[in-house]
Amino acid sequence: MLRFTLKRIGLSFVTLFLVALIVFFMTHILPGDLARQTLGRDALEESVKQFNIKNGFDKPLLTQFFIWITNLLQGDLGVSLRYGNSVSELLAKPAIKSAQLAIVSLFIIVPISVFGGVIAAMRRGKFTDRLITIGGLSAAVIPEFVWSVILILAFGVSFRIFPVSAFPAAGTGTFFNSIYHLIMPSTALLLVLFGYISRITRAGVVEALESDYMRTAVLKGHSRGSAVLRHVLRNALLPTIAVIASQIPYLVGGLVAVELVFAYPGFGTLLLGAVNARDFSVLQTAVLLTGAVIIFFQLIADLLFAVLNPRIRQRVTE
């Protein structure tokens, strides 16, 4: 297992380096004149020249890449071309905000989806099962921004149960109020992820319900519910946990549409703004960080899969 883990960590670093390489060169092939875009329409030619020298844009692309990587490794994320302040400062708040949204979403999505999956498995073939599986799948095919708009119109504008903004007003950002503001965006994400997670859970539970140890547990006198709680969930949920781990990067960096609809200043919004403004320093670092998060949680998911399934472990180490 140690060999497998080390190998996967090594591969993660290689992947991260490739991501950095691709991100850097992809951002630099975007059309547009960065200096003019940053300095504005009135900038003098001399100012444009100075801007390019100051930011190292006059150097060959490969040199720029190595300067960027070296600075990055030294903890210097650079300066935003758009706003002029440090990238680390710009990224910090949105990253925290996205993490908050991801955590609240997970606390809503995981129990509900797992519960739905278990219920569907225990009612296999019955109306409840069909309702959960078909309903979940149907909800999942509708994009999250559509759900966001529907939720806003229904629970925000019509019934006024939840706020339509995901971020409380200045001075009112208490712990519970902040969570209250995140319920609607989290619900939009629940509707998208419920079908997937509940199906994985259902499959695991169904398999476990048919296992010998389940029969043994029942024969030993456990009730069906008790047996599921004590024996089935422990085994059946492991694949679900791995699937959830693989969804975390999406919850951290992939929620552009939800963030925009709910006016939430998260990582996705920052990324989109950086793309649109060709703010290379922010864009490169933000994408790299998103990549790092994806790779990290993918690593966790892989390790969990390996823990669950020794055959995977064996295959990778061979």
């Binding site: 975007l30 059309p31 547009g32 004149d33 003019r36 875009q37 940053t38 300095l39 504005g40 329409r41 009135d42 900038a43 003098l44 030619e45 001399e46 100012s47 100075q50 801007f51 935003s80 758009r82 706003y83 002029g84 302040n85 710009l90 708040k93 806003i152 119109l153 925000g156 504008v157 006024r160 706020p163 339509v164 903004s165 971020f167 007003a169 200045a170 001075g171 925009l260 609809v261 006016a263 200043p265 919004t269 920052l270 703004g273 793309v275 649109n276 403004a277 060709r278």
Partner: protein, 554 residues
């Protein structure tokens, strides 16, 4: 009668002599000034709104307003779209152009021209302080303008000060400053006003670059408490503001940046925010007037479609005239813009009501005449052309409409629309050039180089920026590359005219020369719509979207 009407009355009837407030005839019908007429017409005058709540008990509330996304830092040297609303709150200017279009004293208590408007003497007040408590002095003012003129600061407002050279601003004493211009500019006080929002006064020695946005040490009616770039800004009233009547009567103001006004609408409807400054007519139509005050502000801003006069297929003015004759302006305004615009006549003078020559005939759609002109120009079957613009709501729609309209006379348009934020990827990248006769930058699809393009222009207090930068042959933003002696002469008449009569004559000459040459199709001028909860008073916006808070609250 509001100030604008009063002003117009005085100018047109000559009831009063020429004074400080009326030193420019065009002044009375500035972008925002003209809006006052619109305000009165739609029955939602800010005056009325304010009067109706004048007796309401003062209640300090936390005001939240939706603003545009910043395109750059809220810093005086680096002003870009979205920063305006922040700067208009934290900063102080020499002169205020109030939402009704009057130039009002701010730091400058008085301004007067000598030498026919080539020298401007400004008298300043001495009781203004920056937010850090230090007094705002004549030295700070001179430093501010010199810093913009310094190439090292790469100020994006430097072009506004084209008539000034470094060293030409002289401190006479602690309260008197003289601006010595390179040439006559009767509209110079407008340059100094808050519509030039980058020209807010900064403390001597402080940089107006991105570092300024971390503290925002201005002298305006609001003090920055916290600011997150591209997201939100929390402001609190400046209790030391020199004009006690304009100290905001709110506990705080939170400016929240939305990607579009449409995304902010649900928050407005549910009371999570109190106001949106720039709404599309279709969005505004969803708001109930019993809950919201909708202020419709006609501006002189809008879309200018240029046709290259120096190269390509539009060199012959008859073709440009024919193209303009295909545009059914009224139908577009009514059908597409839901009435949220005023018809224009292919010049930039129509919005300036006190000076516009209304006898100049409005260009109306006439396909037969257009076809005849095309035949005369030797292209009866039309030709293929590429039209460049960027993906902005109005630009898109107007470009599509032009494609359809021009097809009627055989001009087959291929649209190339830059999808990047603010057209930054292709359309608004270019090598700046003075439009010297004979120079023809390669057509790379960018604004100043493309054969046909649509650029949006924000509302201005006076037409001078359009005329000098876009319409004059040596203008740096002369996208049509027009080099027309009549237009140049008319613009020179305008910039040097001081009396109302001279201004009117100059406007008339510009209008006629513009129609004749038709380097640009200016089909309409935008009407900007803001919506504010009826519970709120004392919050107004100018034509650019700048926030103007009078000392009232709710």
């Amino acid at each position: 009668m509001n100030k604008i009407n009063e002003s117009i009355e005085e100018i047109t009837t000559g009831k009063k002599g020429f004074n400080r407030r009326h030193f420019i005839t065009g002044a009375a019908a500035t972008a925002v000034g003209a809006s006052a007429l619109g305000l009165a017409a739609c029955g939602n005058s800010p005056d009325a709104a304010q009067d109706s709540v004048a007796d309401a008990p003062a209640e300090l509330i936390r005001l939240r307003i939706a603003t545009q996304k910043q395109e750059g830092p809220a810093a005086p040297w680096m002003t870009k779209g979205g920063s305006l609303q922040i700067l208009s709150c934290v900063s102080e200017y020499l002169i205020w152009l109030d939402p009704l279009g009057s130039l009002e004293p701010a730091i400058a208590t008085e301004w007067k021209a000598t030498d026919s408007g080539k020298t401007w003497t400004i008298t300043i007040r001495t009781d203004v302080t920056f937010h850090d408590g230090s007094p705002l002095t004549a030295d700070d003012i001179i430093y501010t303008f010199e810093s913009h003129l310094d190439e090292a600061s790469a100020s994006q407002s430097a072009a506004l000060l084209g008539d000034l050279k470094s060293g030409s601003i002289v401190k006479v004493d602690d309260t008197t400053i003289v601006f010595n211009l390179e040439k006559v500019n009767a509209n110079f006080p407008y340059v100094l006003s808050n519509t030039s929002y980058g020209l807010c006064i900064i403390k001597s020695g402080e940089k107006g670059d991105a570092s300024w946005a971390t503290k925002m040490n201005g002298a305006g009616p609001w003090v920055m408490v916290s600011h997150t770039e591209g997201d939100r800004t929390l402001l609190t009233p400046n209790l030391n503001y020199y004009d006690a009547a304009r100290i905001p009567q709110y506990e705080s103001m939170e400016q929240i940046q939305y990607v579009s006004a449409a995304t902010a609408l649900p928050a407005l409807k549910t009371g999570e925010i109190e106001s949106i400054s720039l709404l599309l007519a279709a969005d505004a139509a969803t708001l109930s007037e019993s809950d919201f005050t909708l202020v419709k502000v006609p501006t002189c801003g809008g879309l200018h479609l240029h046709m290259r006069c120096d190269i390509g297929k539009f060199v012959d003015k008859r073709i440009r005239q024919a193209a303009a004759l295909t545009i059914d302006r009224e139908a577009f305004i009514d059908g597409v813009l839901l009435g949220a615009a005023e018809i224009a006549n292919d010049s930039v003078m129509e919005s300036f009501k006190t000076t516009v020559d209304t006898s100049v005939p409005q260009r109306m759609p006439d396909i037969e005449a257009a076809k005849a002109l095309m035949a005369e120009a030797g292209v009866p079957n039309g030709f293929d052309v590429v039209l460049n613009t960027w993906k902005r709501d109005d630009n898109d729609k107007f470009a599509q409409y032009v494609k359809t309209a021009w097809a009627q006379i055989g001009i087959n348009v291929t649209l190339e629309i830059d999808g990047s934020d603010g057209g930054a990827s292709v359309f608004y990248t270019y090598v700046p050039y003075p439009a010297v006769k004979g120079e023809s930058p390669e057509n790379n699809g960018s604004w100043l180089a493309c054969e046909v393009g649509i650029a949006e222009w924000a509302g201005r207090a006076v037409p001078d920026p359009y005329l000098v930068r876009e319409w004059r042959s040596d203008g740096d933003w002369n996208a049509a590359h027009v080099n027309d002696a009549d237009i140049d002469a008319a613009i020179d008449m305008w910039t040097s005219a001081i009396t109302p009569t001279d201004k009117k004559a100059a406007s008339s000459a510009i209008q006629k020369a513009s129609l004749e040459a038709t380097p640009y199709i200016v089909a309409y001028n935008e009407t900007r719509i803001s919506a504010t909860s009826n519970k709120i008073a004392g919050l107004l916006y100018n034509a650019q979207g700048g926030v103007y808070s009078s000392g009232q609250s709710a």
